[in-house]
Structure formats: structure tokens, C-alpha cells
Symmetry: D2
Subunit: 377 residues, 4 copies
């Protein structure tokens, strides 16, 4: 305290003008964009992100998220030749070096949004190793190949939209005809799948339920089949099929595909197509166990977030984690839980690099991808 | 405008002191609690809710939520005797009159919390007709019969907790030993179920996959079995089994039960227990179609919210809906969508009575239940 | 881990079935409402809150909030006779024992809502010592004495409402005529206040700006005058005037009162009524310094939250703090900051008992007051 | 509906496969980034924003926000020569054409963050006409000229930080010494201001309180003086002083400046520096009335948001409005209110172009500025 005001009661100077310890040398100063530099005009993604890293609040979290993504995608271990056969479990780059297995999760609405093109880009270029989505995240990708989704408004009145057959997803609109087209497209596939199930069951007899039985369809097998059938380069599922990137969706019945499977039970009766979820939990957990390093990029909350984290428990924790969502922890939901909650469960390693970015994925993920996967580096 | 200030520029009086139309006669005045009344001391639930109805903001929404719940639980249609045989699809009260089918959904964390006792109360007394939960909402109910969950803090450090084997759920703690106890409890049941699957498959041969095949286990059948086996009156699953209230959980592999099913694949190999989700989508959708009136009480977001709404699409919309969650619509998530978005899809009827209460369910649902189901009326 | 599954890979049993440390004896089990008890029918506030205390999530926070409020209102120190004259700075109860000084803050919208009756109850019965509000929190209290506020809906269209002269506040509606009535009511008071300022200024001459000068009007003096003039028992301001409970509002020009003061400058020109905010910061800070113990009950965020906390810095921190708001910390706003951030500043004592309840005040404060101030104890 | 499934109950095909009306021609298809284009590598701000415009959710809102900002900054009316003298009230560009008056508001924490450099850039280059801030938004700008703010973490423990004299603002840290430096810097200025007040009061005698009296200090005059005294090109206040851009802060006592003014009352006694807020409400409202067109860019909620909106009521509504904040409307707070609520009050014109972007300003405003004000166009 200065001696400028000698009449000041002691409690005030003690409380308000309390001295602080010397600032540690490794402290990083808060700074923003230096607009005097030429690159600050119509800035590029990498420059923006670099300046945001020291801005504080969620700008810093975005910067940190990009760092973590760059770490997970650039990590390389030893060459496969220096590993025993049984150790060659995870992924290798084109030169034969160990690399991270990256699990990406997203909620249905992000496929409905224009972020689908960004997600497809990542799958097309093999930037991720596996995907977890909710039912809508599967079917909307296919449906967009059949007919477009449109921009709308959050405030459009539900009863009027229902009269028009226009389904609202936030500020998007999907004509109900799109689902009718989907029904036309998928029924023959379901017919075929039932046929295949029946044939395999007959052939295998009492072994039809065994591990790896071709009689048993799973969500991930169904999704792979849909990706093959749609045969459209704008589709995430198409590229996932092409690049052998599994897409998991344990609750695939919770959406239009579920409606179609339900409808199909009337047609198929007394036969019934089945979808087993035990084989898929074995499949995703096995990928996690096999990974040399595991990274998580999770857009949104709920099932897709928990499912990836839970799989990473099987390896005693992910090595890298980036959460992007708008959930809050105060209601004890898993959706809103911070990465540190997952650390307590062993789903993220204690020493892992992790961040949660509190934002709608559509406002941050395009910039994050531009500054990482699509940065040209 | 008064003529008190003649020097005032016209634009100001026009803009700021603009006259309003006469107040319509049906307008309801905002009012709060009248503390001069004797019942305003240590108030009872019904009195509190009644006063909150005219308070505005979410207090009004809570009041409205109670009204809707009272409507859905008190609705009665015609007597079963006045219906044709094929029309007797839905539920009847003890006197034979049609009543509503009530779908209740909740996320896992609410079973972890003390709200479980309230949810169990509703199931025990048959106040609801069907339940949709996430995996944790199933297993935590069982686990609590084996060992307690404890109060903690949101800010406890993850790495320390992991060292201690203490798993954090918001401000709750679950010792990891609880999951070990769960493993010990469930493995014999999974063994038995695999045996039953194998036997039935052998017996049925090529018809093993058919509709209603006893060879095919589903999440709802598994949950019913767990409720039977736990045989504990503190359990939601126990009462659901007892009262034949189905519990749906399409992604039941997404949690500790999934871990156990995964572990079991090692033990069972080359056999494998299977869980089919197609039969369950048929089952829940059929309940919705059969209902005379359908009500939804949905605590939390994500899968459980969408799943109930989607089922109600099969009847062209629910008649009553109460959402309680903390999600927001701005990110286009289904979790945060208002009831009016579901109206656009035909999941809630245009003329239905619905409300969304923006709150953590633990702060509002105890009071709501106290003022409705547990009001003594 | 059990030995039920000997084929399980070690990493799985180590990670998933990791043993936990023994549960400490002071751990509190999560429990909810025991519906077998007779008091669980149409429950009373205190019983509800007691059961919610061990529920977890925000139910526990509500329970804790009630405990803190009971602590702050029941704390008693020594008798005034055992204090030196200069030590008799704070508040005493009717028996002469030291008690806490309670600062209550609320945002404008809560006075617009029916919570106003609860806030008025607290002031009427001297349960709080000082209030901080925003401009609307002052004027809406007066305006409600002149004409009612009505229930509306969040989704009503703004342009239609403007045509009708209906102003929307969330799901409330205030006819613009109410503000015209307010203008008629307040202008004569402003005229009188200007007269008084002029007289005092003339009388005091060069000392007119001095400390305690009657020529200088402040927001708290203006508010006290409005409370006196309205003379209406439904008003918070009336009881605050009556009970000498100061109401602080540093930005009182930011609302309809500001509009009226602005209009008045045209009428008064070249004279001008003045409102000094320096005297008020001295007044609230002095109350904080004088308090034996200081408690904070803050409903909402923004200025009212910061202002009370900042005043409590003058005493090196509040002893009790209950925040109720919907703000989140991720954007670095003071509105969303947890109590622990205020601890870093010395605004809350390190050893203080504090809690933040994440909720709209209208859904939790009626129950909290019913279980504390209005519990009959 | 297709005729693929003739056994399907009618209610199902009617509800689920309901036909939609033809898609209106003006519907805009949801689309994302086209990664096949060369400009999609390390994207530039304008290209990113353009692609985000059709993505949906908040990406679309960001795109719309940029459009609105471009509209408000590019609008030009008639030449000043074609206006009567009394009509030349608002702002003109360098060529003499009418342009918009832009009100920018921000909360304190944004000046603490690195966004300060962006805000300063806008003031330095006269991109805005007036500013409304909270107290911290004033003093932190000055304090940063005296000593840096540092990056920290949201989870740092308050009691430890207090021991070290480190004040936390979200994930930022401000050493308490910075406030001591501020005290040393400001006390001589307050001394000088008191001197000036005393001199003017003596000179003016009974007219000392009149409109435009130099005896009466206001927050905006004090802020201008601070900007002049700091004389530092990194400062927002410096450039505001230089460019005659008024900064309004009705509650300037609610922060460290208030602490200093409070302290000063001990030193100055019996004299007292005064800060009148009536003159400032006249000043900001007059700017609004004078504007040819009015635009609002409001970062954060609370007082700064309401104050700008309220000023725009004086012109019967703003013509352009961009809100960026994380508040939600469900609790009826003004902070969370959508632009449409302001339309009902006449604070935004019914025909105005407005948007609310639900995000922490630090994650969206750098990109928005890069794509608009700092786009080189």
C-alpha cells in the first residue's frame, strides 16, 4: 500500500491492498491479437487460434484443444518391425510407425447440420479410427444423400410445421418426405438382411448365436452395409465403409432406422430381423485395448460421450481428450461432466492432456479443424 | 402521457410513453405467496405449488407441470365393457375405466442420486406404465442394493480419487468396490442366461430368431430378470418386475452392465450371450399405439428423452408432456429441444398440454411429486 | 475382483475392477425421501429440504443453502453491554446480542415476478439488513402498486406485443400504460427533489458537495423517498423505508427511473437533479466494515452480485454466502463465478460457509424461505 | 408412403410417413465447408464465416451476426449538405455521408481477457461510436497498462490463491499488487479532480448543480480523464479519449475504482468527490436520439446489455443488433433475453436485423472481427 492515505482504516488496506507473492517466472501473460501485423487482416485459422491461446476463458480452451488434437494426430511410437507379432495390435502410419487410435463421437444434430461435411472430411482422409454416433447421426447422413435439409428458425411454430410435414431440428427443417424416401430406400436392404440372417441361421443351426456368427447382425455391421449401399461420396458412412472405420451406435433403434425396423417386423412376421449389441461392445472395447495411444474427440454429450469414455476405461484411460459441448456439471449428468470426472473413473489417464470447450460444436469445430487436420500441415 | 412535461421531444413520449391496448379480461395477474395466511408457515407442497403457479418464470412452469401430471394421472375414459374386444388395448383403472399410459424417462445420474427413492415410489405404486433409462440407470439401482453411494463434492480432484478407487458422479462418490460386488452378483446370472439362450436355440433350430423366440434376450427382458433376482424392496427394478412395468434401455451395453457382458465374452467363448434391440423397439412402440392416452414425464435429456418421444410418434403424438432438464435449444440438440419441436415431428399432439421445466430434476421433482402423486389426493 | 472369469485379460480386471480404499467413517450415504413415513404426504418445506440434503446434485446444494441461511440468521455474539462504545458498530437483536448483517441482492426480474411477495416478506420482518438491486428492481416494485403485471409466454412475438404496447419480461407482460402511470406518479416527486437540491445548494454554498451534504441526492436516498411516498404495504420499498433497511442501486438510471430523470432534464433545464454514487459506495462499504458477521443472499448475477461481494471485501470477506443463479463460470463472467472465486479476492472468508445453487430463483427460493425464515422457527 | 409394406397399420403410415408440402423455392439448403477447394486449407476468416452461414445452429447465427455488422458499418445515408442544420445530428463518414452510430457494450471480464486488444482495435480505428462497460471494464484496462494479467485455471483453489494475493477471474489471475499499483496511480488524479470540483463549486455558487456545470463530475468524464492520463496506446480508454468516443459506466463505483473513491473519502473528509449519473443518462440517450441509424454490438449480459437497449428505446428502437452471450431466457433475466424481447419494448425496431449468438465472446468475437472490421474490406 502506498502512504498516500494515512487516514485509511487498517482493515481496508489489509484486505484491499494486500500484497501478492512474486509472480512465478513460468506465468503466461494474457494477450490477444496484435492487429499491427499484416497477418491480422482476414486472419487464417492457425494465426487466429495461436492468438486465442493466450486470451483466457474459452478462447484459451480452444487453443488448448487444437494443441491436444495436434498431439494426438502427430504422435508416433516405434516401428512395427521392432514389435513382436502379438504387440502389433494398434494402428500404424504409412511408414510403419505406431500412431494413436482416435475415437470421434458426435450427436445426431451435427450430421443434420453443415458440420457433416467436416465430419466426412475427417473420415474420408482417415483422420479418425472409429466413430460413435446416435441413431440420427446414422440415418440423417443417408437421408441427406436422398434429399436436402434446409435452414429454418428456432421460433417456427410446431403445429404449423406439423401441418406442413416439416420437422424441425433447432433452426433446421427436414421435410417429412425425406423420411418417406428413406423408407423406400432401406426396406429392400432390410429384406435382404433378413434373408441373410435366415440363411445363416439355417446353416449354422445351434451355433448361430456364437461369437462371430454371420447370422447375427450388429449395429456396426448394419451401418457399414448402409455405407456400402448408399455409395455416395458426400456420405460419412460411405467413407467409413471404404476406409474400414467402424461406426458404433448401440441404440440405433432410437430414430428413423428404429421406425423402419419396427415397420419391418409387421412385414417379416413371424420372422424378425435382429440386432445384437453385445458383439459391438466387444468390438469397440477391443479397439481401445489394442490402441497404442488413444485419443477422444467428442462433440456433444449423452450416450456418445459416455460410450467412448467407457471404452477407454478398458485401457485404463485415454491419453488425449477433447470435449466440445454445452452441458454443465451442476446437475450431475455425464453429459455435463468435466474431463476430470472421467479421470476419477480411469476413463482418462491422470497424466493425459485433456480439455473441455464449452460451446456449440458448430461455432468452434470448423475453426479447430481448419487449424489442425485441415491446416496443410 | 401526462402533460407534466411539455418540453419533452415528441419521439420520447411516443416511444417511451406509448399507450397500451386495454388488458384482456382473461389475463392472469402475477402474484406470489400470501404470507399473512396461516398455511404459509413451513408450507406444504400443494400450497407452495399453487402459489408458484402465478409467480412467473420457471415457478409458473413447475405449477403448470403439476397441473399436467394431475391431468394425465386423473384422466378416465369409458368403461372397458363399452369397448369391443380389439379396442381394449391400453390401460384400465381398478374400476375398469380407461386411463393414461404414462412413460417416464430418466438419466443414469438420477438413480445415483437420492431421487431414486422417489422414482421407486412411483413404480412401487404403479403411477407409471413404462420406463426408459440409460445403462447406468439400470445398474446403479442394483448396485445400491449391494453397497451405498456417498455424498462428495464437484471439485474433488480426479487423479486423487482414481488412486483411492473412488468414482465421481457430480457431487457423489461411488467406491469402485461396488462395481466389483456387482460383477460377483451378475456373472452367475449371465451364465444362466447364456445357458437358457443355448438351450432355446438348440430347441428352436432355424426358428430361433423369430418374433417372440425365447432364445432371443432383449434389454427389457434382461432388466426384468435383474429386478426379479435382486429381490429387494428398495429397488426400482424389483418393483418394475413385480408390477410388470417394462423398463427399456436400448443401449444397455453403455455402462457397467456392458463391461460385464464384455468380460463374459471371454469366459463364454466361443459362445456369446446376445441382446437384441429390435424386439424392444417393437415392444415400446406397440405400447404407445395401444395407449388410450399417452403421457410423458422425462427427467434429463439425450437418449431417454428422444426414445419416449419417438415412441409417441407411433400414436401421432403424446397427449401430455412434462420435460425437466437443463438443456438449451441453441445448439440444436434434441436434449435441449422444447416440446414445440416435438410437435413439429408429430411426437406431441398439437393440442397436447406440455411444458418444459428448466431445472436440475433433483431440485424440482421431489416437490412436484409431493404436490401430485404423493399429495394424498 | 472375483475369480469367476479366469480368462479375463489383466488390464481389464486392473482397470475396471480396481479395488477402492475403505470408505471413511464420516462419509454420508446418498438417500432420498422415505415415503413410508406419514409426513411424506403433501410434504412440508422443512421435511422436504431435510430429505433433499442427502440427495446429491443441486438438491444437496439447496439443503446446504438452508443450513447456511439458518446459521446466518441464528448467529448471536456477545451482549452489547460487554462491548466498548466504539465496538457497537453492527447489528443487535432485540435482547441486545450481536447478530449478523445480512446483505440480500436480487435482479430486476425477480421483483417483476411473484417472488416480490417473498422479498417483501423478508424486508417487512427485518430478516435482512440491506439490499442491492438493479434499476428495474426498484421501479417495478413501485409500478406494481400502481397497476398489475401479468402472466404471458416466452414465445409471444415481439412485434405484435409492441403494437399492443405490451412489454415482455420472460413469460411476464407489463402493459406500457403502467410506465405512463409511473411517470405521472414520479414527476411531482422529482420536481420536489429538485427544489430541495436547489434550496440546500443555495444555503450551503461552497460546502454543498461536502460529505453528508443534504444538497446531494444519492440512489439510496431517492429509493428511501420513493418507499415513503408510495406508502403501500405490498411494496418492498415501503417496508425498507419503514424498517430503515437501505436499498442500494448504483445504476439506478438504467431503467424507467432513468428515463424519467432524463425526461426531467428537459423540464428542469437549465437546472438538473443530480444523483451521486460516491456517497452510496461509502455507505454500503461502511455497513460491511461495521458488521459483526456478514451474510450474503444473492439471487441472480451481474452488478447486484458483484456489488455485495465487493462490499464484503472491506471486511476481508463475508462469513456466509448463498448464491442462487443460472450463470456458468466457463465464460469468465463474474455472474457465473463460484463462491470460491470470491474467496481468492477476499470477498468471502476462506473459512466461510458458502454454496451456489444453480437454479432459477423462482423455483428454489420460495421453498428455501418456507424452510428457513418462514418455517415458524 | 411406399407400398412396400402392406401390413403396416394405417396409424403408423399416417403418423410416420406423413407427406410434406412442396419445399418453397426460397428455402436454403444446409451445407458446410467444401474441402475440395484450395481456400479450405488453413482457412481465412471470411471464407470460414461464409461456409458457416449455411451450417445451421450457432454457426448460422455467427454468419448472420457478421452480415448484420457489415450492414451497420457500411450503411450510408444522404450527404450532410442535403440536410438542414438541425438535422445534422448523427454521424457522418469522411466524405460527408450519414452513417450509423454503433453502441458497443462489454462486461468487465472481456477487458481482463485478451479480447481487450480486439476491443481496443475497434476504438482505435473509430469503428464504434460509444461504449458501455461495467466498472471492471474500465479499471482493468488501466491496470493492464501498469502490470500484466496472467493465465490460470478455473479449478485453482480460492483459499490458496488468497494466501498468495492472487485474484482469480475465471481462468485468469491478477496479482493483488496490480491493484496497489492502481491505487498509487489514481490517488493523485482523484486529488486533482476534487480540487477542480471544489474550485468550480466555489466559482459557480448556487449554479454549481446546473446542467453542464463543470463542478459536476460524471462517470463518462472521469473515464475520459483516465484515458487521457494513462497515455498508453495499448489502452482502450486512451483511444476513446483520443477519438472522442464516450465510455459510459453508470455503476463505476462497483469495482476497484469504487474502492479507491471510498478510500478517498477518508482522505478528503469533510470534502467529498461526487459522481453524478443523471448527466450521463442524458448524454447516452441524446446520442441515441441523434443517430441516423443505430447499431448495437453487445458482448455479455447484465447492465451493459440493458443500458444500450434502453438508450435505443429513446429513438424507438435500434436498427441493427448483435448480442453475444451465454445467458438463457428461462429465468426471465434481461441478461438472457432474446432480441425479440427487446422488440416488445421498442428497444429494437420490429423491422431491424438482429441476432443473438449463444457463446462465450472470446470464442466467437475474434473470428467475427476478423471477418468484418478487420477483413481488409
Amino acid at each position: 500500500m502506498s502512504h498516500q492515505n494515512e487516514k485509511l482504516p487498517d482493515i481496508l488496506s489489509d484486505a484491499v491492498l494486500k500484497a501478492s507473492v512474486p509472480v512465478p517466472e513460468d506465468f503466461v501473460e494474457v494477450k490477444g491479437i496484435d492487429y499491427s501485423k499484416p497477418e491480422s487482416v482476414n486472419m487464417r485459422a492457425k494465426d487466429l487460434i495461436k492468438s486465442m491461446r493466450t486470451m483466457g476463458f474459452q478462447a484459451s480452451s480452444m487453443g488448448e484443444g487444437c494443441e491436444i488434437i495436434d498431439e494426438m494426430r502427430s504422435w508416433r511410437g516405434v516401428h512395427r518391425d521392432s514389435l513382436e507379432e502379438h504387440e502389433r495390435t494398434g494402428e500404424f502410419d504409412d511408414n510403419g510407425y505406431q500412431k494413436s487410435t482416435i475415437f470421434m463421437g458426435y450427436t445426431s444434430n451435427l450430421i443434420s447440420s453443415g458440420l457433416r461435411d467436416t465430419l466426412r472430411y475427417l473420415v474420408q482422409h482417415k483422420h479418425v479410427s472409429a466413430i460413435v454416433a446416435t441413431a440420427g447421426g446414422i440415418e440423417e447422413d443417408i437421408i441427406k444423400c436422398l434429399a436436402p435439409t434446409y435452414l429454418g428458425e428456432f421460433s417456427l411454430q410446431g403445429s404449423k410445421l406439423r401441418d406442413q410435414g416439416m420437422n424441425r431440428i433447432g433452426n433446421l427443417l427436414v421435410p417429412n418426405d425425406n423420411y418417406c424416401k428413406f423408407e423406400e430406400w432401406i426396406v429392400p436392404i432390410l429384406d435382404k438382411l433378413l434373408e441373410e440372417q435366415t440363411e445363416a441361421a439355417e446353416k449354422l443351426g445351434k451355433d448361430a448365436f456364437d461369437a462371430d456368427s454371420p447370422a447375427v447382425l450388429t449395429p456396426s455391421k448394419l451401418i457399414d452395409r448402409l455405407g456400402k449401399e448408399i455409395n455416395d461420396e458426400s456420405s460419412v458412412l460411405y467413407w467409413a465403409h471404404k476406409n474400414k472405420i467402424p461406426i458404433f451406435c448401440p441404440a440405433i433403434t432410437d430414430g428413423s432406422i428404429g421406425d423402419m425396423l419396427f415397420f419391418h417386423t409387421f412385414k417379416a412376421s413371424p420372422q424378425q430381423l435382429r440386432l445384437d449389441i453385445v458383439a459391438d461392445i466387444r468390438k469397440i472395447n477391443s479397439m481401445s485395448m489394442a490402441a497404442f495411444r488413444a485419443g477422444m474427440i467428442i462433440l456433444g454429450g449423452g450416450l456418445i460421450k459416455h460410450h467412448i469414455c467407457n471404452a477407454c476405461l478398458m485401457r485404463n484411460g485415454a491419453d488425449y481428450a477433447v470435449y466440445i459441448n454445452t452441458g454443465q456439471e451442476f446437475d450431475g449428468s455425464d453429459a455435463g461432466a468435466r474431463p476430470d470426472e472421467a479421470v476419477s473413473w480411469g476413463k482418462i489417464k491422470a497424466e493425459a492432456h485433456s480439455v473441455k470447450i464449452y460451446a456449440d460444436a458448430t461455432v468452434v469445430f470448423p475453426l479447430i479443424v481448419a487449424a489442425t487436420f485441415a491446416s496443410g500441415q
